[in-house]
């Protein structure tokens, strides 16, 4: 089966899967791109790693990049010039409140379909799309239900596996019977995490905390809301568009007020006592939210920035988290 790789949560995996292709949402490794352009100062480490991954992926038959972030938009320009694998730039609107932007997103899904067909897929009839959507919806439901029973790291790994491989049976170690407790409840907020970033969850636990809300792009925040089952049956593509475009809040939205509404609800609902704000150096979209978040919430906020330099980051990050938990305890 041909594989389509992507990273953005606004790309509906079920749309790719319904075309008979394997949708693989990449969990990036922190890697320096062998392409010198990407090593320029000012390039976000995540984008740098994405370019490396896309250029070196021997199994991908197509790459989907979105316009959510300008650096990714420029990364697409690079891929088109340098990478043999066909790439598609999906225009995901930053504005979200107007019907026009919602229609634009839907139109982009239709245009994506043309790309997927060129990549070897088949335009799906509604019943195939419905079935695929139900599978994914059910998988997301199971994953969400597992959250109280697994460690934050395991939860992140399960979500990542779902993104990379699609719906499957939940691993046995993700089906607990007793909800976990203990530790100072924390939220982690920010853009996408990379594989090595999962160490953060361990450091938090070792320091006496527990991540109860993973509001990163690769975490719960990046999962779309459950489908409206009635609408799904009648107009599956529209329901798909609504669920993805309409329910995933992000800092890149304009305005991004829905992100704060979502955070308000989730932070209070889970009894969060502190926030870890995770961002990449040179990610302006999230960097700009740090101070605003600190002004908006009464909760203490810990800033953890990374330039993608693993070894230096580890000590810094551990030190900050330890200090943060000392403060909260």
């Amino acid at each position: 089966m041909k594989t389509i790789i992507y990273t953005c949560p606004y790309v509906p995996a079920e749309w790719i899967a319904a075309h008979g292709l394997h949708a693989s949402r990449l969990l990036l490794d922190r890697a320096d791109s062998s392409f010198s352009t990407a090593r320029t100062e000012g390039v976000c480490p995540y984008v740098r790693s994405f370019i490396h991954a896309a250029m070196n992926d021997t199994e991908a038959d197509g790459i989907i990049v979105t316009t959510v972030c300008d650096q990714m938009r420029r990364a697409f320009d690079l891929l088109v010039r340098r990478c043999d694998v066909p790439a598609f730039l999906m225009n995901v609107p930053n504005t979200w409140q107007s019907l026009a932007s919602q229609r634009l997103y839907l139109d982009e899904l239709k245009r994506l379909s043309l790309f997927l067909v060129r990549a070897g897929g088949q335009s799906p009839p509604d019943d195939v799309l419905v079935e695929t959507m139900l599978q994914y919806d059910e998988a997301r439901r199971s994953i969400r239900a597992a959250r109280p029973y697994v460690s934050a790291r395991r939860y992140a790994e399960v979500m990542a596996a779902f993104g990379m491989n699609g719906p499957s049976e939940l691993p046995s170690d993700a089906k607990g019977s007793e909800p976990l407790s203990g530790g100072v409840p924390l939220a982690i907020i920010g853009g996408p995490l990379m594989r090595q970033d999962f160490e953060l969850f361990d450091v938090v636990e070792q320091s006496g905390g527990r991540i109860v809300l993973d509001a990163t792009e690769t975490g719960e925040r990046g999962m779309c809301a459950p489908f409206d089952r009635r609408r799904l049956q009648k107009e599956p593509l529209i329901e798909l568009a609504d669920a993805y475009f309409g329910s995933i809040p992000d800092a890149s939205r304009r305005p991004n007020s829905e992100l704060y509404m979502w955070l308000k609800h989730e932070l209070s609902g889970r009894g969060v006592r502190g926030i870890i704000f995770r961002r990449f150096v040179w990610c302006d979209i999230w960097h700009a939210e740090l101070r605003r978040l600190k002004d908006w919430t009464d909760l203490p906020v810990l800033d953890i920035d990374t330039a993608g330099d693993n070894d230096t980051d580890r000590h810094r990050t551990t030190n900050r988290i330890r200090a943060f938990l000392e403060m909260l305890q």
Partner: protein
Amino acid sequence: MTETPKRITLGEWDRRYERLQRAGLSEPDYGGPLGRHVEDGDQRLLKLRYDNSTAALRLWNFLLTEEDRLHAARAAGNKIVGTMKDLGTIPVMAYSFDDVVAFYPDGAWWIPCVMELGAGLLDIADSLGIDESFCPVRAMLGAFVTEAHFPVPDILICSVGATCDDFSAIAQRLNGLGYPIFWWEIPHRRRPEPNETTVNLPGGFLAPKCQVEYVKSELERIQTVLEECAGLPLDEAKLSAGIKQANQVRRTLAELRFLAFTAEPCPIPVLEMLIAEMLAIHFCSDRRETIEVLNALLEEVKARVRAGTGILDAGAVKIFWINPVADLQVMNLLEDCGGRICGTEYLFSHALDEIPEDLPPLEALAQMALADPMVGSSTDRAERICSDISRFGAEAVLISRIPGASHCALEGQIIGEIIREKCDVPVLEIEIPPVTDSIRPTVRTRLEALVETVKARPRAQRKQRRNQ
């Protein structure tokens, strides 16, 4: 025409001004000696050098009195529209009303440089969490907080989507401080799919018709908002008239640019050309006067070309400049190092091309908005630049990186690569912070090296390129 065209200091200008006054200089009401702006805090002006024509004097006075005009407009009860990021489209609509003035608050990025960081705007941005890793547009935040520069607009209209992240983040921060913003979406301009109707945009780019229709629908929303703000309707006739006036500016500029970039010797400095081009974006808050100012400048340049005079020696290396700079002193430095301007792309080329007058006005404006070089791919942008390099006969290219601007990190290198492939000219990419005093030797070395590289090329090759 001015006697001997040359670049002079502010002190020399003030002395010249006295002589001109005695000789009966006629000026608009915003005229006066340039030195008075230094007293207002624009310290940087002391370090710049200026064209010595009265047309240039008018240009500078026009630029440096914009804040006065905005405050006067507020006092007179006119509506003030703050339009952000689109660089050239919305003001055409706004100025189609009689009592509406539009300007770009993002233009505040010049203030810290012109005031030599004395305005404290960047410190305010720092305190809001928008530090120097963001582009100098962050000065806008400080300008809104202090209200010491421009009056807070009656409405803020901001384009997002295919724009740069740091600007978008800064605008969102402004919104988060309590300034309501009317957001509109500009989609990433793409090549049409096989089953789509293609539209040839002004400037040579292509786009699918559906994207033009989309942008048009966004402009219709903006039209409604402007009408509510102005309290008056904006019909097609008014908008068409506004487009005609904007095109008058654009045509004058086109003629000016062609002469400035191709005449030998160089008839006008790069700094004055930068200011002149900037007038196209929002007419420096007075569209009628913009036309007068540009006409005067064009007349001066034409006279110099007829007389075969210029401000630089013949043979100055022709440099195509990409991306605007906050520190205007670097523009002087280019000429000090033996270069001259021969083409520019300051990220608003769509504000320089003529708006089609044979289309319904909103559709024409939608095409212009989509023709924004930032809205499409770096490759598209590079190809247009290559075309202009050939047209003007540039011998080298300078790409100035804007510190903190998210698009510059990758885009500059892609553009440089394409230019080297297609045009076989040397390309230099340098970062220019808002105040470059302390790195002046570094910048100078690089500019000189670029000039030397061109001069070292075989004479025949140079001649062929210059005469293209």
